[in-house]
Symmetry: D2
Subunit: 187 residues, 4 copies
């Protein structure tokens, strides 16, 4: 097998126009570029828009440990941030969650994940990722799919506690607290 020229990566094998990278390509990319992610904090709101509950995912990480996390995922080539947000909400909460995406595309926070701790509040051993994070009210029924085992709904007070903070992976306790602050319910 040959390459087209020096330094040109191999094209994807099956669909040259696919927005999806092969495992090898993703590994290559992760070592060279910051990847763009979206994250969502699903919430329940009352009739006046006040956040009453916050949804947190329980998930087994690659080491088999149970950790709490948020809805999150990569933005694909050609995909809008809004489309990516909707896709990952559906992937993690199921098709009946009925998320109400915010009218504003401005995130409540930009979370920068680095493979090495200390550069920011957020760590992702796999990669440098920059994540646009949104609070998203959901009005329907959430049934986690894929690798998320369960969604837990907690009150803002519970979600504000240091104990809860400590259970979240990659520094997302900080992100969750920033989410609560942005909607005025950080305890």
């Amino acid at each position: 097998m040959s390459t087209v020229g020096a330094g040109i990566p191999e094209p994807p094998r099956e669909d040259p126009n696919s927005a999806w990278l092969s495992a090898d390509e993703l590994e290559w990319t992760r070592a060279r570029l910051p990847l763009l992610y979206v994250e969502a904090v699903p919430v329940r709101v009352d009739g006046l828009g006040v956040v009453t509950h916050v949804g947190v995912l329980l998930r087994a990480n690659e080491a088999g440990e149970m950790t709490r996390t948020l809805v999150s995922g990569r933005v694909m080539y050609g995909e809008t941030v809004r489309d990516a947000l909707f896709r990952h909400l559906e992937k993690d909460l199921g098709p009946m969650a009925f998320p109400l995406l915010p009218a504003s595309p401005v995130p409540f926070q930009v979370a920068e994940y680095f493979p090495i701790p200390g550069l920011s509040a957020y760590v992702d051993e796999r990669q440098h990722a920059v994540s646009l994070a949104y609070v998203v009210p959901v009005s329907g029924t959430c049934e986690p799919r894929q690798d998320a085992l369960e969604i837990t709904w907690v009150t803002p007070a519970e979600a504000s506690s240091p104990a809860f903070h400590a259970e979240m992976e990659g520094g997302r306790g900080t992100l969750l607290r920033a989410a609560l602050a942005s909607v005025g319910v950080l305890g």
Copy 2:
């Protein structure tokens, strides 16, 4: 020449840890991933923080035409958004501009550039780029370097005009107006 394995891109030739991509690698990446950018609207403020002037770059684009644009550039692997913002401000405005980066990492707008018009207000023929845009007061002397020919300081009223809007490349007139709105001076 051979590849290390099927689908594995060639490593960069000179510095395997470089955050910089070769031209070929960049081209490959641009066809497969959204690239993360930062953009800045440099402003002059008065003693109360009110924006009095807005800095816009005059630059020759690849077709040799003069267009107006904003400070902008890519976020590198391992670099924080803030570092990238500072680096590009220095690159475009010179080392004596003394930018006062915002305390908040939340951009005033997320601009999504697609190669094909119509998906959003922003177009970049080269790539899918997602840009975090900030208003940045500068207190020093601006001397454009590199490919920026000139920086022009205009009032918010001038910058708000449809005529000015039309002179800006890639839809950045819309981004400039959003910047003015975010600081309360859109005419």
Copy 3:
């Protein structure tokens, strides 16, 4: 009738605990204090949260002229900003509008109205008012009540035009454009 002491205003006559001021009391207050207002830009959004239409009220002002305006009104004593926002949305759009109040209490803009032009972009001949302005998606049917004659739904492009801007009272064209910018649809 006597006063309790020099400089002490008369108490309200009918209900001493009423949050509502008499006409005289309101006039007195308007000459001495900035009044707190809320304003809302009602919008229609699509399934991904993108603003597709903007609602603007047509109203006869005190001089009998037809002007375009936004949902707006005073925050009463003891009332939360959110309650006031809901109350004025219901007053201006009717009980079936079903507004989805934002989870975040932070306005997209703070509009400062002064009796004298030139201090800011906003003018209110009656008073100094400071208005917290929000973009509010509505999912139901809007039927203006009270003094609003009609609600008109226009596209973001129409609402962005200078002509439309000029028809709005008190500088609210500027506020409307800031609203459009905040949700990424300013033309």
Copy 4:
């Protein structure tokens, strides 16, 4: 002594155009209207705009107890929010603090203080006050004046702690944490 008419409050005695209310007038107003306040969290930033220290005031309250608080004060009739913010920063931090007011007039949070606890996170026994809160970098020397006894500079980590939170009056620990979250440094 007579009143001008039933229900018309007495005009101020000394300067009928004064934006300042007499003690009686202020008391009357506090029982009938929400008062507009500004609050500021003064911060020190590094060369990249990252918040390194947060300034908190130590003050004796009316009961003679020492409490921690933020820069705060009322917006006067005819005064812009920005002017009020500058005035109160100078009042509380002295004339050499050199605050860098934000270019954006949008607060990081709207804090609603009610005389009765439970309506919101914030309590002010004297009144219903709505406060627009800003993070303000200061570059000079702070020397508290008036009733503020001392300004203490703490790190974001210290300011994030529950113990620190508990020392602040009127719920301002919540506001301080929201400030830290808004600039990405809540611990």
